[in-house]
Symmetry: C2
Subunit: 415 residues, 2 copies
C-alpha cells in the first residue's frame, strides 16, 4: 500500500470516529497541541533548520527563506492561533432548522463534518498547524500535503500535534501529513474519490490551476484576487483617496488588495492628479488609459492584459469610465469574483453596484482589504473562496461543515 | 466559434442580466412557458415523433421508448410542473443574515444566483423543461445538454420556452440547449471554467462517473443510492415489515429505494420468515447471508459484491447483524451516502444511528423513499446530491443559489 492510500484509509476510518468526538475532547486536544508546540519548540526549530539549510543550498531567495523560518516567537504565535480556534463555538451538531411535514415526519437539517478534508499548500509551515486546528475543531480528519521546501518542519509540527491530540483522546488517523512531496503523489491525492470529501488548494496561481484542472474530488477554488476600486462622480474625494491608498498600498501582496482603479469621468480632472501624486509618493507604478493620461501625462500606458492582471505588487492599472454602468461592466469582464468597492454618495449607484457586481464581497465606501475571515468576524479563516459553490468569500468554520437530514418518523411509508 | 462556446458566451452575458430581473418578470415568463407548452403541444409532439421513429429504427426497448414519448397529457403534466415552480417563493435577494463589526462595517450575506448552470442528462425530455424552469426561477442562465435520443423533442421544447420567456422579458441567452450531442462536446462543456458556475449530471452511473472524472468546473454529484433498512432488536416488527416492503417494492427503480436489509440477530428468527415470505410474494429475489439462510433456506447466497450493488430492481441483499453498531459499520462501509433507515423502539439506538450513519438523509421509523424534494417540502427538486459539498440530499431552489457578501461602510480602511 502506498503512503497516500494508507493515510487516506486511516483518515477515512478516523473521520467516522471524529463525528462522535465531543467538543470537550476536541478543545482539550487543541489545548494540548498549543502547549506541545511551545514545549517542543526546540525540536521543531531543529527540523526547520534542515529545511533552511536545504533552501540555502538551492540558492533560494532570502524573502522565501524568511517565510520558511520558524523561531520561538513565531511558534508562540502559531500556538496562540490554535488557542483562538479552540475558543470559537463548535459548529458541529447544530440543527440549522427543523420542520414537520403533513404526514408527521419531522425533518431536521443538522450540521455535520465534511469527513476528510485534504489541503495542498505551499511554503509557510504555519499552514500545517492552522489547517489541522480548523479541521480538528470541525470534527474533520485532515490530510495535509505541504511543499517539499518545508517538509522537515511540517513533519515535526505534525508529529508534535499527533502526540498531543491522540494523547488527549482524538482518534488516531485524524491528523495526517503526506511525506512524499512528489507531484505524482499530489496528483493522486486529487483523485482520491471515496476518501477525500473536500480538497482546498492554498497557494499560487499555478497550484490552484493544477488542482482545478486535475482534481476529481470536490474542490473549493481559492484566492486569486483581481480587485477594483471605483470612484464614483458623487464620491467624497478625501474618503476615496484614503480607500484607494489603503486598498493598493497597505499590503499589496495579498489577494484582497486592489489592482485596478476606475475613475468616473465626472471627477477625473479633480481626482486623478491627487491620487496619482499620492500613489507615486508610495512608489506605485501607474499604468493608465488615454483619458487618464490626458489629465496626468507622466505615467505608463495600460494594456488590456493589465486589466486581467493580479499584480500583487506596487503597480496599479487605471481607467476613466463613464459612470457606474461602465464601471460594473468593466469589473464583471475582468475581475476574479473576489472583492470590489465603490466610493460614492449616490444611493442608486451604491445599490446598483452592490446588486450587479459579481464578486464574493462587494463594498460601498470601504476598502477591499476587509475580505478576511477575521475582519468579517468568523474568528478563523481557511482561505477565501472565489467560486460560487459551497462557500463564497472568507471561509470560516462553517465552510468546513456539511449538513445531514435527520428524520424522525413513526412508521411512515410512501404511498 | 463553436456552438458550445457561442452558447456559453450568450449564457454568461445573460447571467449578469438575469441577476437583475424581477420576480414578477420571472413568474410571467414561467406562466408564458406553461401556456406555450400547452398551446404548441402539436409542434412538440411532431418533433417527438422524429425521436421515436429514430429510436425504433435503432431497435430501442419499448420501456425506453415509453420514457421518451410525449403526449398531450404528459405535456399538460410538464406545464403543470412549471406552474408549480412559479408558485414557489423566490429565494433570490434574501439577506440570510447581517451583522455589524466593531469598526462600523455592516456585513450582509445575500442570496444570489449561481450564474450559469449546466445540466447534462439522459433520456426523458421532461427534464429539459423542469431544469430550465428551476434555473429561471432562481435567476440562473442555463445550458442544457440532453441525450441524442431526445434531441428533436428537446430542441422543440427549448424553442417553445425561449419564445415564451424572451417574449415575457427574460434576457436572450438565458435559456440554451446544446444541439451537438456528441460526447466530445459534452466533454468540452465539462471544462468551460469561467463560463459554467455549476454542473449537475442527471442520469445513470456511467454519465455521473464521466462527469466527476472529467469536469474541471464545479460539479454536484447526484443520485446513486445504495440504501439500507436496519431492523433493530427492539423494533415493532409490524412497522418494520411495512417499512421494508415500502422501501424495496413501492418503486424499486429509484435511487431512494432500499437495496440491503440488515436484521438484528435478536429478532432474526421471528422477522426473517415473515419478511422473506412477503418479499417473495412480491417476486423480490432474496440474496442472504449464512445466518439468514440458517433461518430461511430457500433463498440465494449473497456476495460482498451484492452489498456494493444498487440493484434498482426486485432484488434485495440481506445480512444478519449483531446490533446497531454492526449495522452502522456495514452501512458506512458499503453505502453511497444517500438514505438510510433504522426501525427501532430503542432511544439510544435511534440516536446512535442518526449520529453515526454517514448519509444525506437518515431515518428513524420511516421509509427511505421519502428522500425527495417534494416529500421534504421544498416544492421542487433538481436532483439528489450524494456529495457533502454545497448541497446534500434533495436539492430544491436554494441549492441553485450562491451567496454574496454586501458590505456597507462609511470610509473604513484597514489598519
Amino acid at each position: 500500500m502506498t503512503e497516500l492510500l494508507e493515510k487516506c484509509t486511516l483518515a477515512k476510518d478516523a473521520s467516522f470516529k471524529m463525528a462522535g468526538v465531543s467538543t470537550v475532547t476536541k478543545d482539550n486536544a487543541l489545548d494540548a497541541i498549543a502547549s506541545a508546540l511551545v514545549s517542543r519548540a526546540d525540536e521543531i526549530i531543529a527540523a526547520n533548520a534542515e529545511d533552511i539549510k536545504n533552501a540555502r543550498a538551492k540558492g533560494t531567495r532570502e524573502a522565501m527563506i524568511d517565510r520558511l523560518t520558524l523561531t520561538k516567537e513565531r511558534i508562540d504565535g502559531i500556538a496562540e492561533g490554535v488557542r483562538q480556534v479552540r475558543s470559537l463555538a463548535d459548529p458541529i451538531g447544530e440543527v440549522v432548522k427543523m420542520w414537520k411535514r403533513p404526514n408527521g415526519l419531522e425533518i431536521g437539517q443538522k450540521r455535520v463534518p465534511m469527513g476528510v478534508i485534504a489541503i495542498i499548500y505551499e511554503a509557510r509551515p504555519n499552514v500545517t498547524v492552522d489547517a489541522a486546528a480548523l479541521c480538528l475543531k470541525t470534527s474533520n480528519a485532515c490530510i495535509l500535503r505541504g511543499g517539499s521546501e518545508a517538509i522537515n518542519s511540517n513533519k515535526a509540527l505534525m508529529r508534535v500535534m499527533q502526540d498531543a491530540a491522540y494523547g488527549a483522546g482524538l482518534p488516531e488517523g485524524s491528523l495526517n501529513i503526506i511525506e512524499d512531496t512528489s507531484r505524482e503523489t499530489a496528483a493522486e491525492l486529487m483523485k482520491m474519490n471515496g476518501y477525500v470529501d473536500m480538497l482546498i488548494p492554498r497557494g499560487g496561481k499555478g497550484l490552484i490551476k493544477s488542482v482545478v484542472d486535475n482534481a476529481t474530488v470536490p474542490v473549493v477554488e481559492t484566492a486569486a484576487g483581481n480587485c477594483h476600486v471605483y470612484v464614483d462622480g458623487s464620491a467624497d474625494l478625501g474618503m476615496a483617496k484614503k480607500i484607494v491608498m489603503n486598498a493598493k498600498v497597505q499590503r499589496p501582496s495579498v489577494c484582497n488588495a486592489a489592482e485596478t482603479l476606475l475613475v468616473d469621468k465626472k471627477i477625473a480632472d479633480k481626482f486623478i492628479p491627487v491620487i496619482f501624486d499620492a500613489l507615486k509618493e508610495k512608489n506605485v507604478e501607474i499604468r493608465a488609459d488615454k483619458n487618464a493620461k490626458n489629465i496626468y501625462a507622466d505615467v505608463l500606458d495600460v494594456t488590456d492584459e493589465d486589466y486581467y492582471t493580479e499584480y500583487n505588487d506596487y503597480i496599479i492599472a487605471v481607467k476613466v469610465v463613464d459612470g457606474v454602468d461602465e464601471a460594473i461592466a468593466h469589473i464583471n469582464k475582468y475581475n476574479t469574483k473576489h472583492s470590489e468597492a465603490i466610493v460614492t454618495n449616490d444611493y442608486a449607484a451604491a445599490q446598483k453596484f452592490l446588486n450587479e457586481v459579481d464578486a464574493a464581497a462587494v463594498y460601498v465606501n470601504a476598502s477591499t482589504r476587509f475580505t478576511d475571515g477575521f475582519e468579517f468576524g468568523f474568528g478563523a479563516e481557511i482561505g477565501i473562496s472565489t467560486q460560487k459553490m459551497h462557500a463564497r468569500g472568507p471561509m470560516g468554520l462553517e465552510a468546513l461543515t456539511s449538513i445531514k437530514y435527520i428524520v424522525y418518523g413513526s412508521g411512515q411509508i410512501r404511498e
